[in-house]
Subunit: 342 residues, 2 copies
DNA sequence: ATGAAAGCGCTAACAG
DNA sequence: CTGTTAGCGCTTTCAT
């Protein structure tokens, strides 16, 4: 497998380098007949363009913007910032610049405003952790109109014109949670608590959907209590769960579909019932995981952030037509039990 | 963030390009004082080497060899070949050539022979799906002596001098299997079957270890039957499990730690006991997964091959000092329940 | 519509 | 030990 260069292609086709380049990059100003001659030469010689040389010569610089809820909102978001930053570092020497813009969590107007300020010539693409909101949807649609590729990450907004949603299958996650809880309850009857951040978060809403569906259909002996909105904030989830535990002595399981697990763990610690409630949660910090897994039977659903961010970057590059086809893998959810903590 | 080139570094340090290059690439023959001056300049200017230019100039061509059990051995191995081939394709235009060499599964001598024939100047690194065997261990050590980086993949051999084992935590996988089975059995007593390919396969041995450990300690009401060696072959696993099912009417769970699941599924289909046995298996094909998940309660442990192969390539490139440090992620095991099939 | 020639940023002979 | 210089393969003005 020899190295065929544009030079040999040019020679073989009886044209100059410039012409070969024009054909290769589909630029106009070449006679059809010439195009064919060049393409024939490419085929004949089995020419493969050298990606490094091309990148060097073009001096290309790609810019992508990640729009995320502010770090510090909760550990998931803090970690997400970190993950994006890490990915940015890794891509930097491939001439891919990645920046992050913050918005106050749950603040639709802030998010919409941020999106409104994005210009086509500034960014080659935008990845956004969205939320359900007409305002937000509208701005995403406008971005797409301005030909700025947009993908949603972690939490979607539908039906907007964003190119893809990249993230775990949240309905499946909810179903798994219900399945685990139902099996572990082993036929006992009692009530089940479900906590989300806020129902405008598409991902949390999806999880609830899947959860309810399986719980109702397969475990009718378990009564689902009204959903609690904890704003992904331990200062809210803690007290709310605490009073729920007090009000429902028969509560035997908790599904935390959002964040704010520190509050939840706290409330559970103070609870005295035996056996302690079954808990299924989504998490990110190792600390939360350890605390959660120490209960009776508890499972943690883990979402591969790194992969999600990598996928987002790949997708955006694909949309910006910098890099060819990207077979995106679905983002994985891992289930952690006590026995497989890393 | 401007573009700093080696040229500016040279100027700022008061040396020539060649010297900068020497320092940058850690080549010898530079006075310590000069090295410091250059490094200072690099820091000061925030110089980042352009990977494309470097790759272009070096004309580097990396060659890595994957040594695997022949495809067709079982679907896992067939898929592994395919995964390696796919990775090879993706790396090809980055001037990384990946080849595969086959050996007959379970044939220590064949594997050892293959390894013995590898020359240092032919390959920049070797990834091998190994097995426990003095012969194999010896050849791996010899390769390392000849300064050919070696990593093991999927199944390790210890204590050889290979650089790293890349693969899932098989003891953890075994523990999870036991945990799931124990929980699902819900206190019933009965016997449990464990099938592996062969005990010389390090990964299967590890899974057994973790499995036994948790089963004994936490679920003493479950009796573990003698381990069956099924050679990862459905023609063997099927009949063996079938006779086991006949001999043990109280058998209530099966852990398939190896391959050959088609045979296992077949045997379970013919079995009439109610409820059907709990099954935990490792798998690869979607078909096996679907079949397995249709039982009473069954879980499938899924191993991320793509990631494993990518990790192997990264690790080898790191060892070949082509690419800097790669923070390898542990390879994930995903648990599939009926509700989260992709 | 096509060609000639000058780089892109880094590396590696070859001198000194 | 350090500097000079000629590329690597592709892109891109600027002529023709």
């Amino acid at each position: 497998m020899q190295k065929i260069t544009v030079f040999e292609v040019a020679a073989s086709a009886g044209v100059s380098l410039a012409t070969v380049d024009r054909v290769l990059n589909g630029r106009k100003g070449v006679r059809p007949a010439t195009i064919e001659r060049v393409q024939a030469a490419v085929e004949r010689l089995g020419f493969r363009r050298d990606a490094f040389a091309a990148a060097l010569a073009t001096q290309r610089l790609e810019r992508y913007l990640f729009v995320l809820p502010a770090a510090g909102t909760n550990s998931f978001m803090t970690a997400l910032h970190e993950t994006v930053r890490a990915a940015a570092g890794a891509m930097a020497d491939q001439r891919v610049a990645i920046r992050v813009a913050d918005y106050t969590a749950f603040d639709e107007a802030a998010l919409a405003g941020l999106l409104a300020g994005i210009a086509r010539d500034e960014w080659n693409g935008v990845a956004v952790v969205a939320m359900e909101s007409p305002l937000v949807r509208h701005e995403i649609d406008r971005l797409v109109e301005r030909e700025v590729p947009v993908v949603t990450l972690v939490s979607d907004v539908s039906p907007s014109r964003r190119s893809t949603f990249l993230g775990i299958d949240n309905k499946a996650a909810g179903r798994v949670a219900a399945s685990l809880i139902g099996r572990m309850a082993g036929g006992r009857r009692g009530s089940v608590a479900l906590l989300v951040g806020q129902m405008t978060l598409h991902d949390h809403a999806d999880r609830r959907l899947g959860f309810e569906q399986v719980l109702r259909r397969e475990f009718p002996e378990l009564a689902l209590l009204p959903t609690i909105e904890g704003r992904d904030d331990s200062a809210v989830t803690g007290p709310k769960l605490r009073s729920l535990l007090r009000a429902h002595p028969d509560l035997l399981a908790v599904y935390s579909a959002g964040a704010g697990n520190r509050g939840i763990i706290q409330a559970l610690r103070e609870d005295a019932r035996r056996p302690p409630p079954i808990v299924v949660a989504h998490e990110l910090t190792a600390h939360a995981r350890d605390a959660l897994l120490s209960g009776t039977f508890t499972a943690v659903l883990h979402q591969d952030q790194e992969q999600e961010v990598e996928n987002a970057i790949s997708a955006l590059r694909g949309l910006a037509r910098i890099d060819a086809g990207f077979p995106l893998k679905p983002v994985r959810t891992q289930i952690f039990l006590r026995d497989n903590v890393p």
